[in-house]
């Protein structure tokens, strides 16, 4: 053990300073949700909608433009390749956590996101999470597990995963919600002391993602539990999860409004 301690100390600090300072969030080059530029969209073309595997893009009925729901997007980038113009562009926009499900649906006039539903002050500085996998591909778990590696070191932000739902403030759900997981999921929620909150993490938990409609598979958390925060992504990367947790706690601003990330 002494050996490990010595080499551990000698290798120095591995933890990033982000999000407090700097931009070393570890996601350089990682692609996020496609960015929609309606001015470049060609009327009558629906190539992106045809390419979308999860129903996130639907051609508008009047033939002009598209209806885009980031809550269904799995960031597969197929639409950015199918678009004959530059109306859908690859981007690094992955911080897509929102309070209201509607903020994931693209609208032209960028409404101001609702500011309601903030955590009471007493919960903001130390958040305890119970995670439940309700039928994921293990991608979301892989990224959630990464939060406790030395690079992200989630504990430094006062955020902890707990073993028992009895100690948890937030239920973080991943996966499409399969039929057999429905009862264990609800039992976990019932076991949490109230008030408690629910976050849908990953596109499967938000809307069902690509698994939606499979035999035995549900369509995410909508109508299953009262969701307080939505984080699409396939999977959301660890930095996106950290931003979402801090935004949920009211410690960072929500970056997406009406489908526009950072006002773009």
């Amino acid at each position: 053990m002494a050996l490990w301690t010595f080499f551990g100390l000698a290798s120095g600090k591995a933890t990033t300073h982000w999000p407090h300072k700097g931009d070393d969030h570890g996601q350089h080059g990682v692609l996020g949700m496609p960015r929609y530029v309606p001015d470049a969209c060609r009327a009558g073309c629906a190539d992106c909608a045809a390419a979308c595997p999860s129903g996130a893009i639907v051609a508008a009925e009047d033939g002009k433009g598209i209806a885009l729901d980031y809550g269904r997007c799995v960031a597969c980038q197929l639409c950015t390749e199918a678009c004959p113009a530059t109306a859908l562009q690859p981007s690094g926009d992955w911080a897509f956590g929102v309070r209201a499900r509607d903020d994931l649906r693209w609208v032209a006039d960028r409404p101001v996101a609702s500011q309601g539903g903030r955590l009471p002050t007493g919960f903001r500085r130390s958040l305890h999470i119970r995670h439940v996998d309700a039928g994921s591909c293990n991608g979301c778990e892989s990224e959630l597990q990464a939060l406790n590696n030395p690079f992200y070191n989630l504990h430094r932000l006062g955020i902890f995963f707990t073993a028992s739902p009895r100690f948890a403030d937030l239920l973080l759900v991943t996966g499409v919600v399969t039929e057999p997981m429905l009862a264990p999921l609800k039992a976990t929620y019932e076991a949490m002391p109230k008030p408690c909150w629910v976050m849908a993490a990953g596109t499967c938990a938000v809307s069902g993602g690509v698994c939606c409609g499979g035999c035995n598979a549900g369509h995410g958390l909508e109508g299953v539990l009262p969701v307080d925060f939505w984080l699409p992504g396939c999977p959301p990367n660890p930095a996106a999860i950290i931003e979402a947790l801090l935004a949920f706690a009211g410690r960072l601003p929500q970056r997406v409004r009406g489908g526009h990330c950072d006002g773009r």
Partner: protein, 490 residues
């Protein structure tokens, strides 16, 4: 079916064929069902002859019940139960006719008319032993377990520290992924393949693309084949580094855990920068890659730095007596059980079965690359860890060789399988043998995709190393297998 040598067989001849294959030193690996026409169910058995060679397939169309082969090849037991659950076809004299993927009472979603599996002896979820002695405690653990884990329920029968019997129930997460492929165009379905098992995204996409390419008879250009190896080996590094961080956690080697997980993170960040996805998603497509990878000048030095740190880390694990003490002799898996129950990947290689699809059934650019296949014969947790450590070194060596000689040229060719064609594709995922069998319909879209994931095989084997062991070793043994639930449940 392209990609294998397929022959027709009568259902009643299958036991004889299975016994002959066993006697000749070959291996039967899986069986799956599909419906070539409405109301008709076909069984496809996949195996390989002694010494490797082409994959073999026997296809038969049972009119009534099919004979169970589980007594000859125990590994087929789970495949047959899955077919009973999903297709309503009954395998006669099955030793464990219990439900596997679906809960009791759920009707088979793909049953041919008139079949409802009503003849099954026991429509109960799991074959648990009957408890007659007092003093034996039963612990059902899960499906929601401590920490961030995948959902699964483990049932322990134990007295004190001693586990008498162990049973995992792994299908809470069954999402019906195979059925999701139905009616999807082959190129679009790669997105689904990448989401069968997130930690095996590249391997699943690769096996699926191979199957579609076999059906179409197309070969991707050399640069695409080389870049596929690059992605697949990066995925192996991420997976194996995660394995060591997790294994160190179970032996309570805290700094070893932190360092392993940090190395995994570094590998993930390299993969993210290289491919745009920390899981290597969004690049593979039938016929090659969707786009060329950007300039990779930074990749060589980044991998060299990771390799140096990794080899120091693995050497330190080998010098940690407290860690090794918990691994040596833990979770013994004999060669015989590994073979009969269908162990795969590093698990079978640690039990003396020298098999690696990258060498034995080469795909992508592996045939042109120097690949050292690691092996061991001890069959314990230490052997499984050492095989993975050697595979990490081999992956780095492969990557170094590959980056020095990346062929130029295009990365994509046309791949349009004819309607009604079929193909078998495979890949050696970090966890072992992975098959995708693809059948196209008359409309050129997918009519059936069967996915055989490595964890489906290794979860079947794992309980045989748990019965009659003790509670304190359980987590270590489980970590030493490196199992995933999503790929198993699909």
């Amino acid at each position: 079916m392209k990609g294998c040598e397929a022959v027709r067989a009568a259902p009643e001849d299958m036991p004889g064929i299975a016994r002959a294959l066993h006697a000749a030193g070959g291996r039967l690996q899986m069986v799956y069902a599909w419906q070539p026409e409405p109301g008709q169910t076909e069984l496809c058995y996949v195996g390989y002859p002694q010494g490797g060679g082409k994959f073999l397939m026997w296809r038969c169309r049972p009119r009534a019940d099919a004979p169970s082969l589980a007594a000859i090849w125990p590994a087929l037991g789970w495949y047959e139960r899955e077919i009973m659950d999903l297709f309503g076809l009954v395998f006669s004299r099955h030793p464990e006719p219990n439900r596997l993927v679906l809960a009791p009472g759920v009707p088979p979603p793909f049953a041919a008319a008139g079949r409802d599996a009503g003849q099954r002896a026991a429509d109960v979820p799991r074959p648990l032993p009957e408890l007659v002695a007092s003093g034996v405690q039963v612990l059902p653990f899960g499906p929601v377990r401590a920490d961030v884990t995948e959902s699964a329920e483990f049932t322990f029968f134990y007295t004190g520290e001693q586990i008498l019997h162990y049973h995992p129930h792994l299908f809470f997460k069954h999402r019906g992924m195979e059925a999701r492929f139905h009616g999807v165009a082959p190129a679009a379905a790669v997105v689904l393949a990448e989401r069968v098992s997130g930690i095996g995204s590249v391997a699943h996409a690769l096996a699926f693309c191979h199957a579609v390419e076999a059906a179409a008879g197309c070969t991707p250009p050399p640069r695409a084949l080389a870049l596929r190896v690059l992605l697949a080996e990066m995925e192996r590094l991420v997976s194996h580094l995660h394995y060591f961080g997790h294994l160190a956690a179970t032996t309570t080697l805290k700094v070893g855990e932190a360092e392993g997980k940090l190395l995994e993170e570094r590998a993930k960040q390299i993969l993210g920068r290289l491919s745009g996805s920390r899981f290597g998603r969004g690049l593979l497509t039938p016929g090659g890659l969707r786009r060329d990878l950007p300039a990779t000048g930074w990749l060589g030095p980044a991998l060299a730095a990771l390799e140096e740190e990794t080899s120091r880390y693995l050497a330190r694990l080998e010098r940690s007596a407290s860690h090794l003490d918990r691994l040596i002799g833990t979770g013994m898996l004999s060669r015989e059980v590994a073979l009969d129950q269908g162990a795969t990947g590093p698990v079978q290689r640690a039990s003396g079965i020298d098999r690696d699809l990258r060498r034995d059934h080469p795909y992508a650019a592996y045939a042109t690359l120097p690949l050292e296949v690691a092996g061991a014969t001890d069959g314990d947790a230490a052997a499984r860890a050492r095989v993975r450590a050697a595979e990490i070194a081999a992956s780095f060596a492969l990557l170094r060789h590959l980056l020095g000689a990346l062929p130029p040229g295009p990365v994509r060719t046309t791949c349009a399988p004819e309607p009604g064609t079929e193909g078998l594709g495979w890949a050696e995922s970090p966890r072992g043998t992975l098959f995708h069998a693809v059948h196209l319909g008359a409309d050129g879209r997918l009519s059936r995709v069967k996915i055989k994931s490595p964890s489906f095989s290794n979860w079947r084997v794992f309980p045989f190393t748990v019965h009659e062991t003790n509670m304190m070793d359980y987590a270590i043994n489980e970590a030493s297998f490196g199992l995933g639930v999503a790929g198993c449940a699909r």
